[in-house]
Amino acid sequence: MTALFVALLAAAAGAFVILVVGIRQRRLVNQHLDRIANRVSGVVAPASKSPVAAVERLEMVLEASDAERQLRGTERRYEAALEAIDMGVVVVDESENVVFSNTSASWYREGRHSEAVIAQKIDELIHSAVRGERVEQSVALYGPPRRVLFVSAIPILTGGELVGAIALIHDVTEVEQSNAVRRDFVANISHELRTPIGAVSLLAETLIGEHDPEVIDSLANRLLVEAGRLTSTVKDLLELSQIEHSGDSEFSMVAVQGVVGGAHDRVRAAASQRGVVINVEAPEGDLQVRGDRRQLTSAVFNLLDNAVKFSNPGGGSVSVGIREVHGQVEVEVADGGIGIPRQDLDRIFERFYRVDRGRSRMTGGTGLGLSMVRTIVANHRGRVSVESTEGEGAKFTMELPLVPEASEDDPPGEDGEDTAQTSAAPAAPGNITAPATPGNITATASAAPVAPGEDTAPAAPGVGTAQAPAAPAAPGKSTVPGEDKA
């Protein structure tokens, strides 16, 4: 009995101790929960004495922390999204402190030179944006390199309250350039056509009612000159569009020395008339390329013709160099003439682009020569570049992929018209992968004799632009295994 009583007493005492200890521990637990709740924002739950309530609180705290983790994940995702955009992004808070800037805008803080100018502009626009005004401006930078950037700053509002601003920096250089090309092309072509047409109608008008045979004679002669000018412009335009749409179906092996010789013959008379000497420097053995002899001769002729035209009359000299450089044939045409102003260098290959319109009628020409050169060279998977300092002359360099001599003996290469025919079909799918080259598309459509070497077309992405590097292809050697056996 006593034992039972003692046991009960002990149990009661134990329960009391547990209760006391429990209360203390619960208080401790609550303190911990408070601390956690403080760290995880947004949890407002009253402390309670019941252990169930403590657990409930714990659950709330955990939920809140989950929500916060999710929020951080979302934030990271948004940051990554802003990072992925192809433009500079700068985000500021309402006091213009930068809270985020992506890698494209990494120069925003440290930028120097032109970039410092843009950074200044961004700050100005942001200053307006955090005052609720949406602003944008395009900024032309002279660099070098020349660039046009479009900067906009937009206020950020949440629930009608302004919390900051975002600035976007977009490089619109290429857009601006192609706009300029299009705009100027329309203006220039109307100039080139309208001038002789105007002259023709004016001369014809004067002819009406004119009886003096001498005057009639001179007017008619000038009519002929103007008509001739119109004819050559139209002829060049047609030729240019023809070259653009011609494929490489007519290509054969061509020795570059022969091409330069042909062009030299055509320009010789004009050169001696102006007293300009042309020196040609060529290596012994023939350097071969695959191409259209007529087109290539026309390209070199245009370069030579320009060099002669813009050389100093009497005593000027033009030097032509042919050489092999890294599997390319380089044809260099250099003169010591008036040269080309720097700001025009990028644009002279455009159709009808004139450095000096006033001079164009004196020197003649249609304004299409260099764009023809560019188109022909692109057709041949080569590139053409120019260097010049005004007053010191200009140097044009044409690069064409060289065909190694060994491949001349390679049967599927040049002569094998039959081989070419059989391989035309399998070659076509390969060509489709390079749709950038108009020539290739033509080749596919007409299923014309395409040498197996053409299978290397995919190796030349972006052929068709003058600046694209030529494919290191070796036409004549079937570089795509298995194609021939198809």
């Binding site: 030179h113 032109s114 410092a116 100018v117 950074a119 930078l141 002279y142 102003p341 300092t389 010191e392």
Partner: protein, 240 residues
């Protein structure tokens, strides 16, 4: 409290540096811009350049004010003090370079309508590029605290000086051939001189950067040279 004050002080120093770089960016852009306007006879653009120079002047005045405030309120010492005095000097050199481009913009009007031969045009274009390059290098040396680059500026400037001489020669030649009026010739010579001066300002900036980094001043080597010269004549200056 003091820590906070120091932080804003260093932030302020940093923002002075940034302002210098930005002002130099604006002036550096004006060099090719002004040259293009000059060579193409673009009077409207020339006018804009002249007006934009006012903004550069305003930037310069504001920057100077900030430097004086820092000097007066913070009483900086050692490298901080050198940084602020260097900023003051750089400010003046950059502002002056901007003025020179405004002068070239004014010359655009004065030579308007006269045909300038390709040789002189080419030399002007090259001088402009060289001047812009020197300016960029000077700012690079400042932003990086690169005294090696700063020292090299003097030699790099030689090319601009050579171009300047060539251009003057070409102007004389054109004048002999009576390609343009004497007045135009004088304007062209002045324009060439302006580019050459921008190069000189860049070299000056390099000297200031050396001072900022190493505490070196051009006058120091000048003083040493004077001392050596005197010693040659047997004069020993008082070491008081």
């Amino acid at each position: 409290m003091t820590e906070e004050l120091r932080k804003t002080y260093h932030e302020e120093l940093e923002s002075v540096r940034e302002a210098i770089v930005r002002m130099a960016g604006v002036v550096g852009e004006t060099i090719p811009r002004g040259t293009e306007a000059f060579l193409s006879g673009d009077l409207a653009e020339a006018q804009r350049i002249i007006e934009d120079d006012d903004a550069i002047d305003a930037m310069s005045v504001e920057l100077e004010e900030r430097c004086y405030q820092l000097l007066a309120l913070q009483q900086p010492m050692a490298s901080d003090l050198r940084a602020i005095t260097t900023a003051l000097w750089m400010n003046a050199e950059i502002e002056r370079s901007g003025d020179l481009m405004a002068n070239i913009a004014q010359a655009t009007r004065r030579v308007y309508g006269s045909s300038i031969g390709p040789r002189i045009r080419g030399l002007i274009a090259q001088m402009s590029e060289e001047a812009a390059r020197l300016m960029r290098l000077a700012i690079d040396s400042y932003a990086e605290g690169n005294s090696g680059l700063a020292v090299a500026l003097d030699d790099i400037d030689d090319r601009l000086d050579d171009l300047h001489l060539d251009a003057i020669g070409a102007i004389f030649e054109s004048n002999r051939e009576q390609a343009f009026d004497l007045q135009v010739g004088v304007q062209l010579a002045l324009v060439c001189r302006f580019y050459e001066r921008i190069g000189d300002h860049a070299v000056n900036m390099g000297e200031r950067v050396r001072y900022m980094v190493d505490g070196w001043l051009p006058e120091h080597s000048g003083a040493l040279r004077a001392k050596a010269r005197l010693a040659e004549f047997g004069v020993v200056p008082d070491e008081t």
